[in-house]
């Protein structure tokens, strides 16, 4: 769903609270604006000395009544309108995340995690501010201004009103102009701050290099520049932002001057009363507030709009795979795989990542894929996992087109071990069963045993309940890889895919794990990807990929006899290890 539609749906859902809230907001402003009038009446009464004390008390009680009414009304509209926008914040974030979950892998390689988190937190909050603070203040400001002008001109004196308000447009203009400058300079302050952050982060991450080359002094000198920039940008900002208040004050100062001179004359002449005079003063104050707030409101609105645009870009990013059409009713997957004339180009790329791939793998067999980085190994796996849609050629699983198999079923049936061993910062158990309580303790332990990580796990005091990651135990790369393998094994998948996942374990362990997996794979279809011959050589069929194409195929012995790429790779790796 697109961003705008999401907003419309939200507003429709909260239609009544919005209508009611805005109505109450406007009434509050109206009621609030009677206070100067009441004080004016009291002043007149006291001034002319013709009012009885009881009458004054009555007015005072009326004043208190109005004040209390304003309090209650304000509470109600704030609860309705501001409460709504708090709910909008959560609503937008939930939907954003839900949408992100459908986005393809390429989206995540093009966008930095930090930025995406910022979208979901800061930008969502900026939109909330626009809907809350921004729109409420606009409504309130406009209402207060018009009601004040109505009272001033309608019940007190139109000429005085016109005179007093003459400088106001100037004030508004100045506020808007200064506001624009402030925004530019504020951005520079933020950039200076971000630059400091980046500098420090880089410095600390590279501290070994800095120390090794004794660059500390130079780094400090370098840092001074960034630090100085922060001071300069802030001063630039302050020089302008500190003008905001004084400028408005001076503009209104002229209004007050005119009010004092002309207004006083009118009272003395008897055209208006002293109470009107006092009330007029209050109304001018009431207009001053919104005018001085203008630049802040514009700022909030602009930020909200910019943020919403960014969010919309994400909402507009199409999901990674089209919703399956003509899904077949398939109850299980057995792991027979056939790939026919498969071509694939990444969205937005010009070069084909896979060219004319044909593979037939019977259920229970193992396929080895060998190739350099960028040869298309991982792309092939991405397609098998249906992280991307296949439109040129066919992938058939148990004879049915992959596009007709429900995605959940497909992915549930594949046990995938990724290249990068990513673990969540939760317990090891959670990482293996992966956030769904599906497996018994025995199954989890068994998976850990096959992947050769069981002994490591039970050596931790908390065993399988050990929390890993930042707030817990730090695991070695090899331990992480083996937990990733256990995570794939515990599913008892029909198709097991090992994507170059044994690089961080030592050779002896690698052999053990491979032996275990081989045993395990007897009943299952397996795909083992590597850039090393030793890892794939036991496979039933091995394909060598080069530049998106299958360059060679056959069993280990057949490929050696071929004396092609496989053979030379075998020899190169042999020599490398044995020492040429």
């Amino acid at each position: 769903m697109k961003g705008k539609q999401l907003l419309l749906v939200f507003i429709k859902e909260h239609k009544w609270s919005y209508i009611f809230g805005i109505f109450i907001l406007l009434s509050t402003t109206l009621v609030n604006m009677t206070i100067p009038k009441i004080l004016g009446e009291i002043t007149d009464g006291l001034n002319s000395r013709n009012m009885l004390q009881e009458q004054v008390v009555k007015y005072v009680l009326l004043l208190l009544g109005v004040v209390f009414a304003v309090f209650v009304l304000k509470l109600i509209w704030r609860y309705l309108l501001i409460g709504n926008c708090r709910s909008l914040e959560v609503y937008l974030r939930d939907h954003l995340f839900k949408h992100m979950q459908t986005l393809p892998v390429s989206f995540y390689s093009n966008n930095r995690t930090g930025n995406l988190v910022a979208y979901a937190i800061n930008d969502v909050q900026a939109v909330r501010m626009t809907f809350g603070f921004g729109s409420v203040n606009i409504l309130d400001g406009i209402a207060a201004t018009f009601i004040s002008i109505f009272f001033m001109a309608g019940t007190i004196n139109p000429v005085l009103t016109a005179m007093a308000l003459a400088p106001v447009p100037v004030a508004v203009f100045v506020m808007v102009m200064i506001g624009r400058l402030i925004r530019d300079r504020f951005r520079k302050v933020q950039e200076a701050f971000a630059a400091i952050s980046e500098k420090v982060q880089e410095n600390i991450s590279g501290i070994r290099v800095i120390k090794a080359f004794a660059q500390e002094k130079e780094e400090v000198d370098n840092f001074l520049k960034y630090s100085k920039r922060r001071v300069d940008t802030q001063m630039d900002l302050t020089r302008i932002s500190a003008l905001l208040g004084p400028c408005a004050q001076v503009c209104f100062g002229i209004s007050f001057l005119l009010f004092i001179v002309y207004g006083s004359a009118q009272v003395i002449k008897g055209t208006i009363t002293l109470g009107d005079y006092v009330a007029f003063n209050s109304y001018m104050m009431a207009i001053m507030g919104p005018v001085m707030n203008i630049s802040r409101i514009i700022d909030v609105l602009q930020r909200g709009i910019a943020s919403f645009r960014r969010l919309n870009e994400i909402f507009d990013t199409p999901a990674g795979i089209a919703q399956s059409e003509g899904e077949q009713d398939i109850s299980g997957i057995y792991g027979g795989l056939e790939i026919r004339n498969l071509n694939f180009t990444y969205p937005g790329a010009s070069r084909r990542a896979l060219k004319n791939i044909n593979i037939k793998l019977d259920s229970g067999k193992t396929l080895g894929i060998l190739g350099k980085t960028g040869s298309g190994k991982t792309t092939l796996v991405n397609l098998l996992l249906r992280l991307y849609d296949v439109d040129d050629g066919h992938i058939l699983i148990d004879g049915s087109d992959i596009n007709s198999i429900p995605v959940d079923l497909l992915r549930e049936s594949i046990g995938y071990v990724p290249q990068d061993n990513f673990l969540f910062s939760t317990t090891i158990r959670d990482n293996i069963e992966f956030f769904k309580n599906l497996y018994s303790d025995y199954e989890i332990e068994q998976a850990a045993r096959i992947s050769g990580v069981y002994d490591n796990i039970i050596s931790f005091p908390e065993g399988f309940d050990t929390v890993v990651g930042e707030r817990g135990v730090t695991l070695s790369g090899g331990q992480k890889q083996r937990i990733s393998i256990a995570r794939a094994l515990v599913k008892k998948p029909s198709l097991f895919i090992l994507d170059d996942s044994l690089s961080a374990v030592d050779t002896k362990t690698e052999e053990e794990i491979l032996a275990n997996i081989r045993e395990h794979l007897k009943k299952r279809t397996g795909i083992i990807i590597s850039h090393r011959v030793s890892t794939v050589k036991f496979a039933d069929e091995i394909i060598v990929m080069d530049n998106g194409k299958i360059a060679e195929r056959g069993s280990h012995e057949e490929l050696l006899r071929l004396e092609g790429a496989y053979f030379s790779l075998y020899r190169a790796q042999n020599q490398q290890e044995a020492g040429a």
Partner: protein
């Protein structure tokens, strides 16, 4: 109980001390601060004069029916003058205080950064990058809030309060007492509200941090979640977090809805009481009506400073917490390295000798146990051993990243601790296995702030055959290096770090061979470069592949923190020990890439 009380006392004293220490940063700026207080006095005087001027207009001219337009004009202009004066002086005061705040920040920030640069590796092992980052950035900014925001407003507001009190008491003592009586009510409401709001705010921030963490982790691991088909579970997890956050958020809205309006109610209540209290006197003519007007105006201004002061409370709290964290780091002097102390090293020859070295990163968990060896100038020595056998630790010790607990490390016959640290490190160059590149360009990554000419850089690049790869880049030597060199492959980064090593022309070169999988053609280039740069100088290679080190003058086989075998390839093969077994295993297995445990 007593112990608790004593402890509290101690904490309080510590706090007081920290506060005084913070204040010490103000010292160079005392003249500016005095000026700004003087300005604040004038600004407040101008603000307070305004209602009084209108009071004069009302009482002396309007009520009295005194149609003296000249005087009214004069008062009007005086009013405008007050506005003008308040604005100009206020502007100046804000600028001065911002300047002082920024300068103090500048000093503190640089002080911490410089301090951190001098920390030993131990410190960086124990503190995560994120944590240190926050000290230099967020914590300093929190102090900024204290210096430029809070101090300014606090001074201004207190002066304002004092000014209002003085004004109302001069106008009418009895009415002043009536108005002041509402202060305890306001203060009480403020305190209750602040406590509730703070508690809620802390919870809210905690939840937001959790949501932040959740998103960061789940976006990084999104592919995995998709592949394992756990989108629904993860979505539900976020919704739960967001639900809790919403509850806090709504509570904040309600709390905020109470705070200001309640103050307004009390404010108006005071006005009502004032009116009732003085109506008798006005009606009987013993009190001027303008006084009532002025009182109402002052009372309205009275509450602003109070509510602002209470708003600053949170900022002060978080600034104090930040300052404690900053001082904690600044007080860690024991782990500081003294870069300039010790003897100047001159040009080292590169003889390295370990004598019965024992070393542990922590306590008695010995990583190196009684290690002794010596490497002559110009020799190439290779260390072989499984991960965790202590190879990498040896490099760190030669660089003196850590000090050893027992034994001696000698370079050119002199204890490593006697050398000036800077000289020592400048003459030993390490090429680490995961190469770190700084944002900038290729040149700046090679010369690293030192005066190395472009020619020297290109020469070094040719020497290790990195020139063809660098020159194939669109910007050549000026090609931009992004954050951590993410646009380069591991092999390319390795080559750049070789150029860096050669350009520095060190006496001792330490190579930590890369374990990462690099494609075969780059690997060939890297191996050639390695053999070239180790020529004519003492070189130490931490080997992960045996093929690289066959020609080394000396091979040291490490196992569990001890040196088990020493000799060249042929000697060690003849010995028939660990090394021999390793080599045989590789020949038989054909393609075992790494060394067995």
């Amino acid at each position: 109980m007593r112990a608790d009380a004593m402890h509290d006392e101690f904490v309080l004293q510590k706090r007081k001390f920290k506060f005084l220490r913070l204040m010490a940063y103000f010292k160079p700026f005392i003249p500016l601060l005095v000026l700004s207080v003087a300005l604040a006095l004038l600004v407040n005087a101008a603000i307070l004069a305004k209602p009084y001027i209108i009071k004069l207009v009302i009482d002396d001219y309007i009520v009295a029916g005194n149609y003296d337009m000249g005087s009214i004009w004069l008062l009007g202009l005086l009013y405008f003058l007050m506005v003008l004066m308040g604005s100009v002086l206020g502007y100046m005061q804000t600028n001065i205080l911002t300047y002082v705040g920024q300068k103090i920040m500048f000093n503190i920030r640089n002080q911490i950064f410089e301090h951190i640069q001098k920390m030993s590796m131990n410190f960086f092992d124990k503190n995560s990058t994120g944590r240190i980052l926050i000290r230099v950035t967020t914590d300093v900014e929190a102090l900024n809030e204290l210096f430029s925001g809070v101090m300014v407003d606090l001074i201004r507001n207190f002066i304002m309060l004092a000014g209002i009190v003085i004004m109302i008491f001069t106008l009418d003592v009895r009415l002043a007492f009536v108005s002041i009586s509402c202060v305890p009510i306001i203060a009480g409401i403020m305190v209750v509200y602040r406590i509730a709001a703070r508690k809620n705010l802390i919870r809210m921030k905690g939840l937001l941090a959790k949501i932040n963490g959740f998103l960061a982790e789940n976006i990084s691991g999104m592919k995995l979640v998709q592949i394992f088909n756990r989108e629904k579970e993860k979505y539900e997890e976020l919704r739960k977090l967001d639900g809790e956050y919403f509850k806090c958020s709504l509570r904040e809205v309600i709390l905020n809805s109470f705070s200001k309006p309640v103050v307004e109610i009390v404010n108006n209540l005071t006005i009502a009481v004032l009116v009732i209290f003085c109506m008798g006197r006005i009606l009987e003519g013993s009190l001027e009506i303008g006084v009532l007007f002025a009182f109402i105006a002052y009372i309205k201004q009275f509450f602003e400073p109070i509510s602002e002061i209470s708003e600053k409370y949170t900022a002060i709290q978080s600034a104090i917490v930040s300052s404690e964290r900053i001082f904690d780091i600044l007080d860690k002097r024991d782990t500081q390295e003294d870069m300039m102390g010790g003897k100047p090293a001159g040009r080292l020859k590169g003889a390295i000798r370990f004598e019965n070295v024992w070393f542990a990163y922590e306590n008695e968990a010995w990583v190196l146990k009684d290690v002794s060896f010596s490497i002559s100038p110009g020799e190439t020595a290779a260390f072989v051993g499984a991960t965790g056998s202590g190879k990498t630790t040896i490099i760190s010790l030669i660089m003196r990243f850590y000090d050893i607990q027992k034994g001696r490390i000698l370079i050119d016959g002199q204890d490593i601790r006697e050398y000036r640290l800077e000289d020592l490190r400048k003459q030993i160059t390490v090429v680490l296995q995961d190469v770190f590149l700084f944002a900038g360009d290729i040149k700046s990554n090679i010369r690293l702030n030192n005066s190395i000419t472009d020619d020297e850089i290109e020469c070094a690049a040719r020497y290790v055959s990195a020139d063809s790869f660098i020159e194939s880049l669109p910007g050549k030597y000026d090609e931009e290096v992004k954050e951590r060199g993410c646009t380069f492959s591991a092999g390319q980064k390795q080559l750049i770090s070789f150029v860096r090593a050669v350009a520095f022309n060190p006496a001792v070169l330490v190579l930590d061979e890369a374990t990462a999988s690099i494609d075969t053609s780059t690997e060939q280039a890297i191996r050639e470069a390695m053999s070239k740069i180790s020529r004519n100088r003492t070189s130490i290679i931490i080997a992960h592949r045996l093929s690289t080190i066959r020609s080394a003058d000396k091979i040291l086989v490490m196992h569990k923190g001890r040196i088990r075998e020493t000799g060249n390839h042929d000697e060690l093969m003849a010995l028939g020990g660990i090394y021999c077994r390793l080599c045989k295993a590789q020949t038989e297995g054909g393609d075992l890439p790494r060394i067995q445990q």
